[in-house]
Symmetry: C2
Subunit: 398 residues, 2 copies
């Protein structure tokens, strides 16, 4: 029995769809009028925001039409993209069209129902990323006109996720916070605030440069990393949060970037491993959320090899091999990954955590335990236990 009954599944990557009240309830009253709210679209929205347009175009979706429920934030419309909440629907009905809340399984946005869905699935713990603010809260960085409002929106999301969503089952739901990415002092302040409220992780983009921010090689980020280390919060870098799609060009089907999204996680890993970050913050921990693990043995081997061959003429750590830094600081997260499970010892069994990805299209719900058992065929019990539960408990201090 590769997955025994006493092993509890802890998923380190799920997603919540914010219910309509989040910002209208948690924002200070003066910000509510221009804060995110859900409205019924009364007509085709010809002037989709750039984000809405690119999301719709990416999935060849139809755009907003009358009858859709959409988010409006500072007067800009944003569709709820159907592919972000497919759980429980047959594949043949998936598409990128905008949708209504009552089209979704209730567990997408209701934490009481989510817990029931987790019970159905035999999943004990869950860490959720946001949806409307994007997985690292970058919408409040890139789209907001009023940064006072944006800061209030970040705090409101964090209050919702800690005080309401996770408070529904505090021993099972793991709070992940977002940060006001445009200001380092505010990031440190919010990180400190959410740490005191019980957050276990904060989301940061996999690569800040495409978002107009300095790279992680710059001292700009030092106070944030120092605060995360001090408060023992994991940095969760979810693939796709740079906003860059890894397709080699725009002339093929969207399947190309879906298939290649792990490339973003590879770039994130190599970026951090070849930066000064881990030398300066020796206890910092980074989770490569949804990044997959099957590529890790190859990338670590290649990066070590290149480091060994080319470090002599480059401004780079001459002493610590990238793979050593990886094993001290980074964690791979996977949903289904036969290659990664087969090569788990090349990655480090203690560096690997399992994900369910509810309610996205990759989710194993409602068959997670059967799926994990199948994937773990031939893996010794103690290793299975570490991968599905114990590593997550250690990394997130559960």
């Amino acid at each position: 029995m590769p997955l025994q009954d006493h092993m509890k599944l802890v998923s380190v990557d799920d997603h919540l769809i914010e219910p309509p009240h989040v910002w209208q309830h948690y924002l200070p009253e003066r910000f509510r009028a221009r804060g995110p709210k859900v409205v019924e679209a009364t007509a085709k929205a010809d002037s989709l925001s750039a984000v809405g347009k690119s999301a719709a175009a990416t999935f060849s979706a139809r755009g907003i039409e009358a009858g859709d429920q959409i988010w409006v934030y500072e007067d800009r419309p944003y569709p709820n993209i159907g592919l972000n909440a497919v759980v429980g629907k047959p594949k043949e009905k998936w598409n990128g069209d905008p949708m209504r809340f009552d089209d979704m399984r209730r567990g997408c946005w209701d934490p009481v129902e989510r817990i029931k869905d987790m019970d159905t699935d035999g999943v004990w713990g869950s860490l959720c990323f946001p949806n409307f603010p994007r997985f690292a809260g970058t919408l409040f960085l890139t789209d907001s006109e009023d940064k006072q409002l944006a800061l209030a929106c970040v705090r409101a999301y964090n209050d919702f996720v800690i005080d309401e969503w996770c408070a529904t089952a505090p021993d099972r739901l793991i709070p992940l916070a977002i940060l006001p990415l445009w200001d380092v002092a505010l990031m440190v302040e919010e990180l400190t605030r959410v740490a005191a409220k019980g957050a276990r992780a904060v989301a940061l983009p996999e690569n800040p440069v495409p978002l107009g921010l300095p790279s992680y090689h710059r001292s700009h980020w030092e106070p944030v990393f120092a605060a995360a280390q001090h408060h023992d919060l994991v940095l969760a870098m979810h693939f796709g949060t740079s906003g860059v799609l890894p397709s080699p060009h725009d002339d093929g089907p969207p399947l190309m970037w879906l298939a290649l999204l792990g490339v973003n996680a590879m770039q994130c890993a190599v970026d951090l491993l070849l930066s000064p970050v881990f030398n300066k913050h020796p206890r910092l921990r980074v989770a490569l959320s949804e990044g997959g693990i099957g590529w890790m043995p190859y990338i670590l081997e290649r990066t070590d090899h290149m480091w060994s061959n080319h470090k002599h003429y480059q401004d780079i750590d001459q002493d610590n091999a990238p793979s050593e830094l990886f094993r001290r600081h980074m964690f791979g997260c996977f949903i289904e990954d036969e290659a990664g499970v087969a090569l788990r010892h090349s990655i480090g069994v203690d560096q690997i955590m399992w994900e369910c990805d509810y309610p996205h299209s990759d989710t194993t719900w409602p068959n997670s335990r059967a799926n994990v058992a199948q994937q773990m065929k031939g893996v010794p019990d103690d290793e299975v236990h570490r991968i599905v539960e114990l590593n997550a408990r250690r990394v997130f201090n559960l």
Copy 2:
């Protein structure tokens, strides 16, 4: 004994440094004055070509100075980048500075000496990519002002590589030709010409879009693919030939893109597998030269999974899983790749070929046999034989 004495190593990716006479000898006389020639730099070249500048900047090299030997083509100077010919030098002396021919090991540019170096290394066969024209001959596409001259340069290179380089040891040196990439009719004509002269492969860029050409999803390329299939020539797509570096940003050490170059091969594989190319050309074969293999199980698994989940709403082959197409059409090529050798059955043992990469920095020369023996520990004899020799003989019709 994982590598037995009777097994001959065939390297499907080496590089030749063109000797100074190539174009001055093989070009028709009227083109020679403006064709590529080697000159002694008499002063610091302040006006490096864009290419020279980017290569120099990439490696933090010093640029051209008096005393260097450089190529001049249509009045533009191009340095010989030292990192392209490091074979036989200690790592501590590697750098990107321009160099002279007498700084290089003679086997870089002299085929008689190359054969001796192969004998020293216990390597039987070798397929060489060009250097000055770049690995897929893209310099004649992107840099040439006079396309008549450029076409003559492509033909001159192919005549040199077939009639002189490979003619030195026709049973051991495998001719790879380049094509006039800017014109489909000319490509087909040159492909047909070199096939008749004995070429076994033609180089194409891993991704034509960044070079200003249509993507491989377009019918533009059909006549070229049809001709390659008809003449049974392998398409060799060497990583890096799109000219795009896979770094997530430009704010880190060059080691980042060196570590990540396999990403280009991943993109190339996914691009072709999700295009109509292999459906239209059922016997076409593509080698992902120097792309590595350790990532293949992960990427094939992920691409199949995404295809299975998302094909229903996309304009894509609904019947053939990407991994099936891969096993009919694509070949992975590796120098050192522990992860790939461990997972060789997930890739397909018959899809894997070995490379020596002489005279580049990744080369295993002069210890290739010991290196291969070490990598193949625990691999059954017949599989080793296929990977190091028999697959190359089959794929390249040796």
